[in-house]
């Protein structure tokens, strides 16, 4: 097995035994279980019935929880491992830096993506068993969104872990990043626009640059392809991308952002002190 896969496996095993992973798995598994328990599959809201209603709610909740969870746990464990001497020992073994960094990224990605995906898959399997209709296109697209979301925030988390030299600093920075992304969500941008502090073009651009907003809009587009709930902003978005184009953009842009952030983290990592 090559060094990258060895490192990925190592990181995955470390993650599986970490408390953050157990809580993380419990949270997402719990969300799906609770959505079933509260009978969301039987409810009908705005034309949503059955599993589509559950999936929409699940993706909205995931968007609220996953980014901060991934950011904080990534920086805590990576920076924490560095402080605790894990890096000192493991990096004394003959492993290339490229294999080490990307192996960690890969292992962590599996740990981050698997619980959110498996929780959703569990819901689909259960729905199949109890004869609830499964909206397959929605399931496939949401899987893509979750994959892109994991990639995006894991990449940003890896970059922060490299730049911040202590766990406290890394945690604080991760929280700040999340807060900034949260501040530039549509409602706040709308408020700023109403006060005429920024032009609508700037506000829409900021929204499109913000991965949190991109995910929200893409999830919305699955049941509102014309993005009517967004109001005039929808014209800009649909003019720019088209409905399918935006759905594609919502997958590619955050994934690219995550990979580029991780790549920047790797370049900084290999240039400076490894510990």
């Amino acid at each position: 097995m090559n060094q990258l896969l060895l490192t990925a496996k190592l990181d995955l095993v470390e993650s599986l035994r970490a408390r953050w992973f157990q809580i993380y798995t419990l949270v997402f598994g719990g969300i799906v279980a609770l959505l079933f328990v509260f009978g969301l599959t039987e409810s009908r809201v705005l034309g949503f019935i059955g599993l589509s209603r559950l999936l929409v709610t699940y993706i909205q909740l995931t968007m609220a929880i996953l980014p901060i969870f991934v950011l904080i746990t990534t920086v805590r464990s990576v920076a924490g491992d560095r402080e605790a001497g894990v890096f000192e020992y493991l990096l004394s073994l003959p492993v290339g830096l490229q294999a080490w960094f990307w192996g960690k990224f890969l292992g962590r990605y599996v740990a981050v993506f698997a619980p959110v995906f498996l929780a959703m898959l569990g819901a689909v399997i259960w729905a199949t068993i109890v004869n609830i209709e499964v909206p397959w296109s929605m399931f496939v697209y949401y899987t893509g969104l979750l994959a892109a979301m994991g990639l995006c925030f894991l990449g940003i988390g890896m970059l922060i872990s490299v730049v911040a030299r202590s766990t406290d600093m890394a945690q604080g920075s991760a929280f700040m990043v999340w807060l900034v992304l949260l501040l530039f969500l549509d409602l706040i941008l709308l408020g700023v626009m109403i006060q005429e502090r920024v032009t609508p073009e700037v506000a829409v651009t900021l929204a499109l640059v913000n991965p949190l907003q991109v995910f929200r809009t893409a999830a919305l587009a699955m049941f509102d392809p014309q993005l009517i709930v967004l109001g005039p902003s929808a014209y800009v978005i649909l003019d720019l991308f088209g409905a399918d184009g935006f759905r594609l953009f919502a997958l590619v842009y955050p994934a690219l952002l995550g990979i580029l952030s991780a790549a920047a983290g790797y370049l900084l990592f290999k240039r400076g002190d490894l510990l």
Binding site: E14, E88, S92, P94, V95, G96
Partner: protein, 283 residues
Amino acid sequence: MIQFKNIGKTFRRAQVLNGIDLDIQLGERIALIGSNGAGKTTLIRCLLGEYDHQGEISIDGLDPRKHRTEVLGKIGFVPQLPPPLKMPVGQLIDFSAALCKTDPQRIHAIGKRLGLDVDGILSRQFVRLSGGMKQKLLIAIALGRDAKLLIMDEPAANLDPEARKIFFDLLAERLNDATMIISSHRLDEVSSLVNRVIEMDMGKIVIDDRVADDATLTDRLSCRIVLKRPEPAFAKALDGWNLTPDATQTTWTGDIAGPDRLRFLGIVSRYTALIADLSLSEA
């Protein structure tokens, strides 16, 4: 074999290493000593390619930073503080063996020689082992491959006397084909293991001295101690040293490892008033 040329390292504005020049040849056993903050750990981390630094370091002509896998493949490292790894022992052994291109069974064998029940702990998390068990395992991983350079930071600090004796034997087996750098903040802990002493202070080398190494790593000393009266505290202090008392619990006899003589005398010295007779002779 190892060359340090004008090595400097600064953290923010603090100069931690300052113009280190050093040549180390194959077969040398070096005690790297100095108080806390002297720069020992930083120098070791530079040697392992973990820190960026000024100057040049080469091991067999290769820069550890630019040729990581080639250089680190020749180095066995035992850290002072075991890393808090959550992975099972078996996986740590397999991971290290795969990276170092060695057979995991070699690591198992050395662990067993050190008194570690390797098969019994394979599925246990590394972090849950006792301090001594962790140390033994890290030593087994460092020695269970063809390392030409062994870097050990207080390697025997957590070992019981019996394991120390075996550890010295293991080092003795590598005398002709490995260089050893043993870091410690106390010379008496490592003096009998080395033939060269390098002392650091404030990021500089202040002493670089050859020492007589008449005591070989495999020496055994026959020991006999006669007490004025039986003393349970003394018996407890000797626990693990392989000395056995006679029926009256006043005469203790057995063998101790030659390199451990100073440490042994340090323990016995606490009971000086009790001792009627003491002899140590080469077996």
